[in-house]
């Protein structure tokens, strides 16, 4: 194995990656490929600074360790450093997927046939002028070794497909999609009825959608919209690296502070199935369930070893890197709002004029968060009625967290095949999200 330099902390993450990608546009195959590679990320820490190197040359790992060590300052007390003390030392092989579930062993042709089985459903719609089907899968076996003695192997895998289509109806245009991902190939088989329903919903939408009158409305969020809201509006603020060395943030984000409605709980958990399923993070820490908000009160946050040490809190297993080219930073895994007790009908009842946000193009979450809906509908007298075109839904994060006034029992975790979470330079990182249907007292609609 590696000869770790003395008087420094160091670790090596080796990623053995298998990926497939198939793209078909309007029935024409544009791409069908497999990719396999092994590459590594090396870290050295001297108690003051980190030194990183990413390399595609596995033979150079020892050389890189030595080179980084030569840049660092020797520290004979490194083992007493609070960050170094935090690192877990896990050993052994923790493979989550059996050989029969390893889709890197399935032929490209079989994957192509699976994707193609959905194409006739799109072709049947006379409104579809352009479509693209894409299948992706990725399996990564990671090996993690550290100077503290970690010697760990674990795996990550995801598979999914997206059917993207552009509809035209008179002067109106509408781009919509069916997108689903999971951890095993069987999860994306036999979804023809769901695809058919989505296309029918898109047809109804383009035929009937009208511009909305801008203003403030009570809003019901679908599990997809609620999940994105939780991720963007609160999840990022729970990433503890934003608090490092910042007294105001530490004071403002004290555990136990009331931050939302008493029916609101938000959780992040890398053990949940889906594209955010990462049982160990990229520092070799085991994932745990973390309550970010419990019954409206701030109850936890997401950590790397560095942030957990700085804030004197426990590790959560959220140090993730987008790939071998990057260092792990604090990221979410699967983040969701816990379900409530209402039925969907009960949630809608009492809304005279409101908006139901069904699906999204994207969302963002600074002090003002945004949701850019793809499909949205008016709610009149407690019933979902006609589709409406909306550019953006906005609200103040904390005001909105406090204005959550209803949650359904019905609850969904979602995983998508393409896109992902972006943080600074690292994009796209697969994350899962979800929740129940959520009613918010008032949001700005434009």
């Amino acid at each position: 194995m590696y000869s770790f330099p003395d008087n420094l902390y160091s670790d090596v993450r080796v990623e053995d990656v298998s990926k497939s990608d198939i793209v078909v546009s309007l029935g024409r195959t544009d791409n069908m490929k497999e990719q396999k590679y092994v590459a590594a990320f090396v870290r050295v820490f001297d108690g003051e600074r980190w030194y990183y190197s990413s390399t595609t040359n596995l033979d150079s790992i020892q050389e890189e360790l030595d080179r980084l060590a030569s840049l660092a300052k020797e520290n004979s007390n490194i083992e007493e450093n609070s960050i170094v003390r935090k690192f877990e030392v896990n050993k052994g092989s923790y493979l989550s997927y059996k050989e029969g579930e390893d889709f890197s062993l399935v032929s490209l042709r079989e994957k192509f046939d699976l994707l193609s089985s959905y194409f006739p459903l799109i072709g049947k719609s006379e409104l579809v002028k352009f479509w693209r089907g894409q299948y992706i899968d990725q399996r990564v076996v990671k090996s993690f070794f550290s100077s503290k003695g970690a010697d760990l192997t674990f795996d990550y895998q995801r598979v999914g497909f997206r059917l993207l289509y552009q509809m035209v109806c008179g002067e109106d245009q509408f781009m919509d999609r069916f997108d689903l991902a999971g951890n095993k190939l069987d999860e994306i088989r036999g979804l023809h009825e769901e695809v058919r329903r989505t296309i029918k919903t898109s047809e109804d939408f383009i035929r009937h959608a009208k511009p909305i009158t801008p203003g403030k409305y009570p809003v019901v969020l679908s599990p997809e919209a609620a999940g994105v809201f939780a991720h963007e509006s609160f999840g990022h603020k729970s990433e503890a690296d934003f608090m490092l060395g910042d007294r105001t943030m530490m004071e403002e984000w004290k555990i136990g502070r009331k931050v939302g409605s008493e029916i609101l709980s938000i959780i992040d958990d890398g053990n949940k199935p889906g594209v955010g399923h990462v049982v160990f993070d990229d520092e070799g820490t085991k994932a745990v369930e973390t309550h970010l908000i419990k019954d409206g009160y701030l109850s936890g946050r997401l950590h790397s070893a560095e942030t957990a040490a700085a804030l004197e809190e426990e590790l959560t297993g959220n140090a993730r890197a987008v790939n071998f080219e990057y260092e792990p930073v604090v990221r979410m895994t699967t983040t969701f709002i816990s379900p409530g007790e209402l039925s969907f009908e009960e949630l809608l009842s009492g809304i005279k004029d409101g908006v139901f946000v069904d699906s999204l193009n994207h969302g963002s979450g600074m002090s003002t968060f945004t949701l850019a809906p793809n499909r949205a509908y008016l709610i009149r007298e407690g019933k979902i009625t006609e589709p409406v075109k909306i550019s953006v839904v906005t609200g103040s994060v904390f005001q909105t967290l406090n204005e959550i006034e209803g949650l359904t029992e019905d609850f969904k975790l979602l995983s998508f095949s393409l896109g992902g979470c972006g943080k600074m330079e690292q994009f796209p990182l697969p994350v899962g999200f979800g929740g129940p249907f959520v009613r918010v007292r008032s949001l700005n609609i434009h």
Partner: protein, 411 residues
């Protein structure tokens, strides 16, 4: 059989910054190689990371060819060009020293703020060659300084941002920009009257023109799914709007001058909209030949896959007026952060502006409360388009400004 080889070598030195101190140093060295085999009807591709065995790549490319993936286009042939563009600060020790100097200055000048993120120097070396006389080599270096600004008294994750990317290390101007942003941030202004104002964006801020990326996608355009479908050679926008697809290094494009199919344009640019007239969507070879469109050289795709229609860099041509002239004596609203807004399918645009400054064409006067800005694609680039500044903001590289009249409301 055409045999083609693509090699992309990415080298980067980065200094990461947390709370106005250097937290880490990072080096990247990533080599990607792929081999393509094509016969005018189909293509096979195989790729590898790191040092590769070319014979093995050839064998895998032959196996990929058997999949019969259609690629009914000819290879680019009989074309040779080499280009080497250098930048300052490629040496990691110099980059670290420069970073320390800037951070020291900012700690003194702006003690009420903390600064985090990354300073980076990078080099992308690319070569595409085939057995038909194609041999293109590009080596482009760049420097990027990017900081997230946090008011120490604020509970936000991000309060402002500063940065630029180019070939020169412009330390003095970068500090001047950062100080200007911080000083203006501290000067919280009263709200402004709702109404129409000249709104100013950094010209390369995709927020205000992302609809054009969708509308000028060759496949959407040709199949009737774009707002601009059927409008070739029609004057749709203001005379002042010329939109270029660019791979020209002078436009701040740091990837190679050729696209993934080896297409090279005159001056490394192609006008998609010229003086308001729609000339062409962006295309690769397949899209151009399938729909009888001009080939604009917009092939992308991953290094080890078939070339496919990519998303090019788009750039608005500058006017002959400075930013001050474009504002015409009025105060403008400079949008520094507008996150999360979007266009509807029919072209309506709305976004919150989380950070906007009142701007006189030279300096930021002060920070406005959060506002909402809105318009429509045809208005923004039609009657309400004032133009793109002839000058770079504060003399920083690639820092042109775009001005449009837009509706501004309180959030």
């Amino acid at each position: 059989m055409t045999e083609e080889k693509l090699v992309v070598h990415y080298i980067e030195n980065a200094v990461k910054i947390v709370q106005t101190r250097v937290s880490s140093l990072r080096k990247k060295d990533v080599l990607r190689t792929s081999v393509r085999l094509y016969d005018g009807k189909t293509m096979g591709v195989a790729g590898s990371l790191g040092e590769c065995d070319e014979k093995e790549l050839n064998t895998r490319a032959k196996r990929s060819l058997e999949l019969g993936i259609p690629y009914p286009s000819e290879a680019t042939k009989d074309l040779e060009r080499e280009e080497y563009v250098q930048s300052d600060l490629q040496n990691s020790a110099e980059l670290l020293e420069a970073t320390e100097e800037i951070l020291e200055r900012l700690r003194i000048d702006q003690p009420e703020f903390s600064f985090s993120h990354i300073f980076r120097s990078s080099k992308i070396e690319s070569q595409l060659r085939n057995n038909l006389g194609l041999n293109l080599k590009s080596s482009r270096e760049s420097v990027s300084l990017s900081l997230v600004i946090k008011d120490k008294k604020s509970s936000n994750i991000i309060d402002a941002m500063t940065g630029y990317e180019g070939r020169k290390f412009q330390k003095k101007r970068f500090i001047e920009l950062t100080n200007m942003i911080c000083d203006a941030y501290k000067n919280q202004l009263e709200g402004i009257e709702e109404g129409e104002y000249p709104v100013v964006f950094m010209s390369d801020d995709i927020t205000y023109y992302k609809k054009l990326y969708e509308s000028l996608n060759g496949m959407l355009f040709a199949t009737g799914g774009s707002l601009l479908s059927g409008k070739t050679d029609m004057k749709v926008f203001s005379e002042k709007v010329t939109l270029l697809q660019t791979r020209n290094v002078m436009d701040g494009f740091n990837e190679p001058f050729f696209d993934s199919e080896g297409t090279v344009n005159d001056a490394d640019r192609f006008a998609l909209i010229e003086n308001g007239v729609v000339r062409s969507p962006y295309t690769d070879k397949k899209t151009a030949s399938t729909y009888s469109l001009p080939l604009t050289g917009s092939a992308g795709g991953e290094f080890d896959g078939l070339p496919e229609l990519g998303t090019p860099m788009l750039k608005f041509s500058e006017s002959e007026e400075t930013i001050k002239q474009l504002l015409g004596g009025q105060k403008g609203i400079f949008v520094l952060i507008a996150s999360g807004g979007d266009f509807t399918q029919d072209g309506h645009f709305a976004t919150p502006a989380q950070l906007a400054f009142l701007f006189d064409g030279e300096r930021f006067i002060g920070r406005l409360p959060e506002i909402s800005i809105s318009s429509h694609l045809y208005d923004m680039f039609g009657k309400d388009f004032r133009g793109v500044s002839s000058n770079d903001f504060l003399g920083l590289e690639n820092a042109k400004l775009t001005v449009m009249n837009m509706k501004v409301e309180k959030l």
